[in-house]
Symmetry: C2
Subunit: 884 residues, 2 copies
Amino acid sequence: MTDRLVFDFAEGNATQRALLGGKGANLAEMMNIGVNVPDGFTVATGACVQAMNADGQWPADLWPQIVDRLNALEERTGRKLGGAERPLLLSVRSGSVFSMPGMMDTILNLGIGDVAAAALAAETGNERFAWDSYRRFLQMYGSVVEEVPHHVFEDELAALKARRGTTLDADLTADDLKELVATYKRVARENGAELTDDPREQLRRSVEAVFKSWNNPRACIYRDLHSLPHDVGTAVNIQQMVFGNRGETSATGVAFTRNPATGAKELYGEFLVNAQGEDVVAGIRTPNQLVELKDVLPEAYQEFIDNMNRLEAHYGDMQDIEFTIEDKRLYILQTRSGKRTAAAALKIARDMVDEGVITREDALRRIEPAQLDQLLHPGIDPAHTATPITKGLNASPGAAVGRVCFDADQADERGRAGEAVVLVRWETTPEDIHGLIASQGVLTAHGGMTSHAAVVARGMGKPCVAGAGDIHIDMAAKTLTIAGKVFTEADTITLDGSTGAVYGEALPLIPPSITDDFREVLSWADDVRKLGVRANADSGPDCDKARELGAEGVGLCRTEHMFMAPDRLPVVKRMILAETQEARQAALDELLPMQINDFDEVFTAMTGLPVTIRLIDPPLHEFLPNLVDQSLLVKSLEDAPDADPQELAEARELLGHVKRLHEQNPMLGTRGVRLSLLYPEICEMQTKAIIRAAIAVQARGLDPHVEIMVPLVALAEELLRMRDVIVKTADAELAAAGVTSLDYTVGTMIELPRAAITADQIAEHADFFSFGTNDLTQTTIGISRDDAEASFLAAYLESGIVPVNPFATVDADGVGELVRIGVEKGRKTKPGLKVGVCGEHGGDPASIEILAPHGLDYVSCSPYRVPLARLAAARAVLGYTKDA
Amino acid sequence: MTDRLVFDFAEGNATQRALLGGKGANLAEMMNIGVNVPDGFTVATGACVQAMNADGQWPADLWPQIVDRLNALEERTGRKLGGAERPLLLSVRSGSVFSMPGMMDTILNLGIGDVAAAALAAETGNERFAWDSYRRFLQMYGSVVEEVPHHVFEDELAALKARRGTTLDADLTADDLKELVATYKRVARENGAELTDDPREQLRRSVEAVFKSWNNPRACIYRDLHSLPHDVGTAVNIQQMVFGNRGETSATGVAFTRNPATGAKELYGEFLVNAQGEDVVAGIRTPNQLVELKDVLPEAYQEFIDNMNRLEAHYGDMQDIEFTIEDKRLYILQTRSGKRTAAAALKIARDMVDEGVITREDALRRIEPAQLDQLLHPGIDPAHTATPITKGLNASPGAAVGRVCFDADQADERGRAGEAVVLVRWETTPEDIHGLIASQGVLTAHGGMTSHAAVVARGMGKPCVAGAGDIHIDMAAKTLTIAGKVFTEADTITLDGSTGAVYGEALPLIPPSITDDFREVLSWADDVRKLGVRANADSGPDCDKARELGAEGVGLCRTEHMFMAPDRLPVVKRMILAETQEARQAALDELLPMQINDFDEVFTAMTGLPVTIRLIDPPLHEFLPNLVDQSLLVKSLEDAPDADPQELAEARELLGHVKRLHEQNPMLGTRGVRLSLLYPEICEMQTKAIIRAAIAVQARGLDPHVEIMVPLVALAEELLRMRDVIVKTADAELAAAGVTSLDYTVGTMIELPRAAITADQIAEHADFFSFGTNDLTQTTIGISRDDAEASFLAAYLESGIVPVNPFATVDADGVGELVRIGVEKGRKTKPGLKVGVCGEHGGDPASIEILAPHGLDYVSCSPYRVPLARLAAARAVLGYTKDA
């Protein structure tokens, strides 16, 4: 007994992908649920594998089995392959277990020949159609099976059109096409083709060609690129051709089972009578709305509605369906889950749950978290037809329209005066913060996904296109040049932070919309997820936004952003430049009430929820001018004959401080706990401010939950000593206020490899861990986010050395492994240790998938990413994987 | 039955440290081998512990046991405590299981009182001695036991000397001292002391005071600092006082059993007749050479020689012995292993092995590897008495004397003209290399143990004092200011790179000496050690030195040092600034023959041994001027009315390149494999040069062993792609030359945490691993060696947050653990994978102890550290530990 290698569609179902390939299994599934698909059969993948392993030699029984199923098909359809009456035409298509779109070969209209073409012309009354089908067959068969170079046919077609004085295929007559068929045969033979008139032999050769195409170079490269196996082979689907262009009782069309823009349950589709599928797409004729089919072909219409409902119910998702009506008979050619807007995705999910078609869990698995961004930020009206003038990194989602502005002060001034401006900078620094606040969005030439501009913009929910390497900014001339076009401060541009596109004109925007569907679906996610979701937020308004979007606390309150406010920066500078401890203390005393106020705002907004406040982190020189600027300033004062000596002396003194604090590698420098151990008075001031604010908030009847976090710890000893300073200061404040009801905890960031590796030691002194995966990525991989994205990392992404930007999605094998080690070792010391992630990855769904299994209690991300994180956390529980 | 808590010295031995404390056990041991030590007994540590645990309450049986042993001691010595004739005087000393020098209390001369003082005066015929002993006792007993502030006694002594018009104790007469005794008693009582005349009560109180001193604050802090346990308590040693100042038949002295300067087996010591130990040390009288004792006190002399020989033979090491002769009777007070010079250490070790006293293994355990540095570099003559004017880091050992020079070009010029110069810089860069070569040594204000200056100086075997933060350099005025003193280029300074000291004058140097002893002892180390030792060397002379010092290959040949040579830098710059691939290739073509020559030299010198060549590592901007300098240059050209427009244009263009290549954190930047993947033509040129050189060397009948190493790999994919470039290039060269007999391997540095963590993936593409622990330290701990040592790391070391500089001795828990993980994972993929360490730690004995157990095949270090590494590797096998 020999193996079955060929199966009728009617025999299979969707579970048989390995046997029948994806396409074969889907066709079988449709047929099985009673949908009318063009009939046919599938040569199983094993046949291809056996042939491959035998140097192309077919299994002995394969051809007889194909012939057997072909005979049966001829019987079922009442047609004969290549027959002189009612000829049967076939498509021969590859279809492997995984999708490899366009990588392998297809032959259509197989069975047509001189005899069948005449028969088809007679049957359809459309001679031109018959000969066009014939010449198309020859073209495909010739190049795929007989390996005639494709251009040979294209050249002849072009030559014929030239002789006829046209550039359109449609202008060629039936006689022209008949002539072309003869020409094709001749040139094919001239190019070595051994044509045969026997359609069954053509079928055999076509199946063989599809087998071979499994190992053509582009298919092999594609599999290498996607790490797919080479040894599973392809199935071959042999299916009856049906034609929507057989006359006025034939038609073709596409439809969605629900509105893909809004999600509404309504008929949404188009059709054309007497047309082929490509006519609908090509846009030469204007298609009719699907509802009109009811009047034209009422039975086919009703059958379509029935099929559509059956398909949606069966697949449990909104379907995108292609169909053809041949002589009043409806055929479904293809169905698949339909692409949709985020709003539609939410509405459809909610409706289908209400309809009982799917469960809430199914619904959550269906919605791609990244899509939610569309709903949280204004976007460019999708109807626009403008072309981007350049592209950068899609660093912060949403769209912005505004006049170009090159300077933060001016952006602040113009923005507050009501003008819509877009800040355009080589890169931004903390000193530009007021300019960012007043702008609609920001465009930078340097920096990447985690550059200052990107991080701050995401925090504010403002669009940002970063690292647009092709733009040139002339600060002196105040011009922006992109691809030779010069923009001044009077010109308007549009940024799409969701795609990275930049447009040299104003485009219409559509506003964000947090709908009931959005709220409802996210509430389901909250029911499912185990991971907490907090926000990174530094101010009252940020915290309000975070709560609104569902944050369950603040996971990272960066205190240094507070230092950057224009009214505070001078005091901070005085603190840094202080020559004596007294002078430093005096500046700190001035900062204390400001910080109390900061924390009061945050605790008030977050009452009842935990707030993790990170003590000062950046190196002090970040608050001073940069070394090059200050050196140039001193030099120009020195060279100016009429310079004010006082001014020069001050500039020189400041330069001295800048030099003293300058670091070769500030990322690895005197930051975080290192700074606080050198100047414990800064940490004391911050602790005082935190505790006093919490006392005040509690006195107003609110409920502050205080978590104090020490950054950049590498050594257990650092945390031990820092904790001592914090606890002494905090307890003294509580004692002085006579407050006993206020609890606080002290924890640490784990953001250096050593901290993760020695987490067991560090946990001795920590009430909680928060993984700072941004910095951990930098030191683990040894890349600087300030530099890498604009240099080698871009090249790495382009050439596939890294599959994704590790600052966008966490590096699973390196950084992810350190998080795993850190959690494991930390909990070895303290089994109940609370562990979170507060790097940018906290808001990235793919990173949540990677990190959540390591045992995190929560992630923290910018407020606008909170909904994404909530959904992603639910999907992590539901075992969603990319391949599902 | 009660526990024994008090033991005669004669009962114990050296193994009973836990019971008797270190000092008690040692005294017992000496007594046991027949050495005459002053008799006495020890209160065991357990007594102190029991008292501590009972709030100071003594075990009931303790005092009776002490009294019992005291009675026995009185009997053995024929003396009575506080007796009116032949009084017994005692010392009461602490002595815990571990050494805590000076942390606890001691009382001498206990037993003296009005009666015993008179008896002592009569017995010795020395009334002044008797009353001086009495006042000394009161001073110690009063402050230690009765807790009278120390200054109370000092004030009275000072007042008395003032009244007598002297500043010397020795000018006080017996009557003066008698008066002082009365005064001491009075002021002690006035300050709350309850003095007693009963010497046995004094003894009880003294033992109690020693118990208490176990928990005095400075002892507790000391134990905390050294991580010693608080609960083991101290023993108390009660011992007969003996006096070398009882007259002309008494003496006191110190001796070494061998010459501690040369190691020669000869009498080496000094004595004084009728003197106390402190007189020998104080230098008021000039001591006699020990050999003269033969004539003065011949029996005591012979007894001393016997005792000395017995002690050395018993302890198997050269001893440093203190002795006293009381009335012709020799007493050994103390013996311990004697400190010695490196030369002496080697000679003594070799001689003792020859004498059969110790084994070679014992000898290796005895020699501190770091000491060998003395022999490899010139040192300051230890006879000097100069005081350092400042101290920096001891960055590269040896001493240098020379005139100050601020500029590498000038150092080059002056040095080549025969002048001895010391290069003084804020910090050095690769552009200073020729200045370093021409200098005797280098002094920098910035940078640490692994700064450029330090690394290069160590490689050259030149002294370097780095990070001397107190020095101020005025480049414009060409002055160096240290502690207010100004040095110009005409002034001479001396550096001690072994200690970090800087002297403001010329000091005499002694030359290095590689003796036969040195070679012999290291050959023993080679027999024992399992770890290979290679050198980091980039040139023929470096390689020759490395072989001479015993290197078994080159573990790190840095190719970029070759690029820094003055004749090559312009070509390297052209390569970097090339706008087109052609221009870059042209520059590379110029570099190719130079690099072939470099590698030819290295392979020739190292014939028969492996040479690991690291492909280009530093970021390209290191070869260009720095951003600040170039910005200032452009600005001054812009401002100069008569500037050459051509020059300005070129300066601006160069500034553009500098800006383009500038990185915020170059340590994490476009370096190593990242650079080579962006510009594979650089790596191709280097590979060509390596292979062509090896072919040429082989053709001359030599035997090159080629290992090509890719730096800064973080991802397996990087190495996969780089290896492909290397192998294709190398194989093409071999094929073109028709050579089939030349093997080469391709491996990688493991110097990023991610590389260690994913070593299993990386090992797929690596023939060997070499851990770059310098860079691994930077990224694991998140510290920049360019910055940290001059900033927070210095503060961390000072305040004990880190016990040692992690750039000097590898961080065991962090970096060491990553090395462990890296080796384990690498060998999981390739069981026989060859693994080395080529960071600076490769030459640090403590680091070798930490890293060797992780399974390394070899370490590689600068040539001058090779002997240290050989010895340390042997000691690692012998299980040497710091505490042994």
